[in-house]
Amino acid sequence: MSDRSEPITSLYVHVPFCAHKCEYCAFYSEASNGEMINRYVHALIREMELVAHDLKPRTVFFGGGTPSILTLRQWEEILKTMERLNLLGAEEWTVECNPATVSADKARLLRSFGVNRISMGVQSLDENLLDRLGRIHSREMVFKSFDILRAAGFDNINLDFMFAIPGQTMDIWRNTLREAMAFGSEHLSCYEVIYEDDTPLYAQLKAGKFSVDEELACAMYDELLTTVEQGGYHQYEIANFAKNASAAINDFPDRACKHNVNYWRGGSFYALGPSAAGYVRGVRTKNWSNTQMYCEQLERGLRAIESKEELAPLARAGEIAAFGLRMNSGWPLAEFKHRTGFDLQDHWQPEIRQMLNLGYAQLSQENFHLTRQGLRYADWAAELFLKI
């Protein structure tokens, strides 16, 4: 269990603004409005001040929304605050960018304060599909932004891609994958489109505008696994692939996103910004989603927490077990015991046996993990391991 006296080493910051909301997106974000963004920046600074005493970030992640939509001046304000609060110096510091909002001076500014990883939401390299998804950027912008980032000194870049997009054929996906390999980014995050409630894409699906082709989605996933492996990437989680300096991988590849690994392994993290969900010493919190409300709370000097949830120890351990199995390396048994206080083999014996019998998992002296086949059913595995 994490030590009460040790500060939290992971920080997530949510930037809830987008130039335009994508068709598939269920994250909390709103169309940008200069005045509101300024107000948000000040509230965020206030929130940082409230938690800084308990933070010594090893990993930082600015996600969204579109963090890159913040102006140079706004970024400067945030970064200087972090400097003042002693929050700089993270081993891994990621900022999400939209290819349409990357500029050379912004990139240089981020780099100069210690941001060392960029995650770019490309989604597709097919113009029609980008349009279909409601993305504001073009193919060209992706190539250009990637060069700008490299020129600014970013040597750790992730590109996000989606498959099984309505209208996406296997040929289109293959072309996108081929072009994705050519970038030579250090990391790829590739996932199937999900239809979440309250998204335009979901509404279109329900209205029968298109149908989901499960077979094609499976074939695209297979294609993805083969192509990225040939391209030198190592899958370390269902939708995440990273490069490794050598052929041998210890737990996860060098370029894996350490911030995300902390999520899957049930580590603590502070989450700031509207709608952000944090997990600190066993307590999950969620901030108010409404930006105005978020700002008002902080302007009064209060944290903007909407809800808190704390599970009983075994249920918490079940949740940690469940989500950890999404990673190829699964659970080092000792680490699980250390994090949760429970022995995986004692408390999940029938579940482990069932997965082993089906050939969906492997168990060694040190480690329990899903096999390549088993990973396809990680949701089911998670369901089995949850304690209710």
Partner: protein
């Protein structure tokens, strides 16, 4: 009333040949009820009966009729259930009578049910008065009907009365014939009261009300009577008759019909067909008593498992007025807790299920019906099995016998070929074929009861475009190559689908069930094998392919809580499913299969 002035009779007829209309007409003509009180089909009191045109339960009705000879007669109309599922009830009711009106529709002629019912009346030595009804219809064919009377039923055609109950034609002639032709009841010469309890119903205030026919002596309130078969003595509280509403009388004398109450709390305490006599000086038992044995069994389960107690209470209520219906609790892995229910036959089963659904608003599912098999074991013992779950292992069985029925199928000439094929498909043998008229034939055949349980009647209707009819009477047991078919999901037997079938049909049934199960079992994260097996031998197999994946979506820190809740909900849902061979199968899937099989 003096016995010489009493006439007891029933009306027997095929569905829709006008039995109820004639009954109503008789009540009206004798002034028993005024026209304004006449509801259509007065005697059928349950909605379901009216809708299906069949009488399940009816009271005996007492009418007073002033005949042409100037004398007043007491006519007791003892109604009978119109279907041989209730043949024991029919024969009990008939044995309370000295005569019967046989109604034949002039346009339709003799139908299968007519034949079955006439056989029962003949066995009871009743005087049969044939009535050719609906002679007012444009396509009435009186000559044809008369010919069929003689040829099929061996009743002299010149005895027939021509009538139209609807138009009031021939009613007087019928009433006169009842007085003239039906013998008056005669005392049996026993030392005391001798009465037949031929039916009963349950009254919330009075308890069990028994329908009685007095054969000897008299029945009065205050007497202590003995029920010979039930082995019980009770004090008579009240006696009376129906007109058609119950009314109290001082006593019932030789030949009279009515009811008695005696503080009997449960219909189970009175056996159908019991002999009622004076407890101090008992008379002999009346002939013809049989214990009622259900012929067809089926499991009835609440769809919503929490309705179990509710279902139990409602089955109990049904049983109050239907002593032939039996039930006891059983449980199934697939369907949870429910009841094994016994019925007299197919129609009885349908009626009970339908009443549970409609009158009691119960959501129920019934398992594949089974007949009662006699199993002769290698150790010389004999077992009766109506539930596949209790079928012994094949190597302990020497032979199995199954119940047969004698079925009467009447169909238009052009469908004989198809009908013979159907009977043979149902493992039946046609004993003989009779020409009814220029258009129709009657096939009399011996068929296993289990083969007519499901779709026999519907198939006849569809083969003959609605013109065929079928009825049956129970016949003896006959040896048959029956086997227990098990359905397995990933190697584990699913009890709700096990059944006892003929060896020749096991394979096709196994295949059909496997195919159906394949349709309803949702794909899992692993392959699911569905097998049909007899003993250890597999005879059918289907495979439900595994899902290829259940996740390829991303999941980061902000998603965990929401995702966990979603998965918890799924897990909770699966807990409510039944698990066979580690496959979670929603109960709806079982229900789907049972509905269509």
């Amino acid at each position: 009333m003096q016995a010489s002035h009493i006439r007891n009779f029933s009306i027997i007829a095929h569905i829709d040949h006008g039995k109820t209309t004639l009954s109503d007409r008789l009540l009206h003509s004798t002034g028993t009820i005024a026209t304004r009180d006449m509801e259509e089909q007065l005697l059928d009191s349950m909605d379901l009966e009216r809708e299906r045109g069949i009488t399940i339960k009816a009271h005996p009705v007492t009418m007073l009729y002033k005949a042409k000879n100037g004398e007043t007669y007491e006519l007791n109309l003892i109604d009978t259930p119109g279907h041989v599922d209730f043949s024991y009830e029919v024969s009990r009711s008939l044995s309370a009578c000295e005569g019967a009106l046989l109604i034949i529709d002039a346009a339709q002629g003799v139908e299968a049910q007519t034949v079955a019912n006439v056989h029962l009346a003949m066995k009871q030595n009743l005087l049969v008065i044939p009535v050719i009804n609906k002679i007012d219809l444009p396509h009435a064919d009186i000559a044809q009907a008369k010919m069929q009377l003689e040829d099929i039923l061996a009743i002299p055609a010149d005895l027939a009365i021509l009538a139209s109950a609807k138009q009031g034609i021939g009613i007087e002639d019928i009433l006169e014939a009842i007085v003239e032709r039906i013998p008056a009841p005669k005392p049996t010469g026993q030392p005391s009261l001798q009465a037949l309890g031929f039916d009963s119903y349950f009254d919330t205030y009075k308890g069990v009300v028994t329908h009685v026919r007095v054969f000897n002596g008299e029945l009065k309130a205050g007497m202590t009577v003995k029920l010979l078969h039930s082995g019980k003595s009770v004090e008579v509280k009240e006696v009376g008759s129906f007109n058609p509403k119950p009314y109290v009388r001082d006593k019932l004398e030789v030949g009279e019909t009515g009811y008695m109450t005696a503080n009997i709390k449960s219909p189970k305490d009175v056996k159908m067909g019991d002999t009622i006599t004076d407890s101090r000086n008992p008379s002999a038992v009346l002939p013809g008593f049989k214990e009622i044995h259900p012929m067809v069994f089926s499991g009835i389960y609440p769809i919503n498992t929490s309705d179990y107690e509710h279902l139990k209470a409602n089955l109990g209520k049904l049983q109050l007025n239907d002593s032939a219906f039996v039930f006891q609790s059983e449980s199934s892995v697939a369907l949870g807790f429910g009841f094994r229910c016994g019925f007299l036959g197919l129609l009885h089963l349908e009626i009970v299920q339908e009443r549970l659904r409609r009158e009691y608003n119960m959501d129920i599912i019934a398992t594949y019906p089974s007949v009662v098999y006699k199993i002769f074991m290698t150790d010389g013992t004999e077992k009766e099995v109506d539930n596949p779950a209790f079928m012994p292992e094949a190597n302990y069985i020497e032979r199995i016998e199954e119940p047969m029925v004698k079925a009467f199928v009447i169909c238009p000439n052009e469908y004989i070929g198809d009908m013979m094929a159907l009977i043979s498909e149902k493992r039946g043998n046609v004993d003989h074929t009779e020409t009814l008229d220029t258009r129709r034939v009657m096939l009399t055949s011996l068929i296993p009861l289990n083969e007519i349980l499901i779709d026999f009647h519907d198939r006849i209707k569809s083969i003959t475009r609605g013109f065929g009819s079928m009825d049956y009477e129970h016949a003896d047991y006959r040896e048959a190559q029956m086997v227990k078919l098990d359905m397995l999901v990933n190697g584990e037997s699913v009890d709700a689908f096990s059944c006892i079938v003929h060896r020749d049909k096991a394979e096709s049934r196994g295949r059909a069930l496997a195919a159906k199960l394949k349709e309803v079992i949702p794909p899992q994260q692993y392959q699911v094998a569905i097998q049909g097996a007899i003993g250890g031998k597999f005879i059918a197999r289907e495979t439900v392919s595994a899902l290829r994946k259940d996740v390829t979506a991303k999941c980061y820190g902000g998603d965990i809580s929401r995702k966990r809740k979603l998965l918890e909900k799924q897990k909770e849902g699966k807990k409510r499913m039944k698990s066979f061979g580690s496959v979670n199968i929603p109960q709806e899937a079982f229900i789907e299969v049972l509905k269509t099989s």
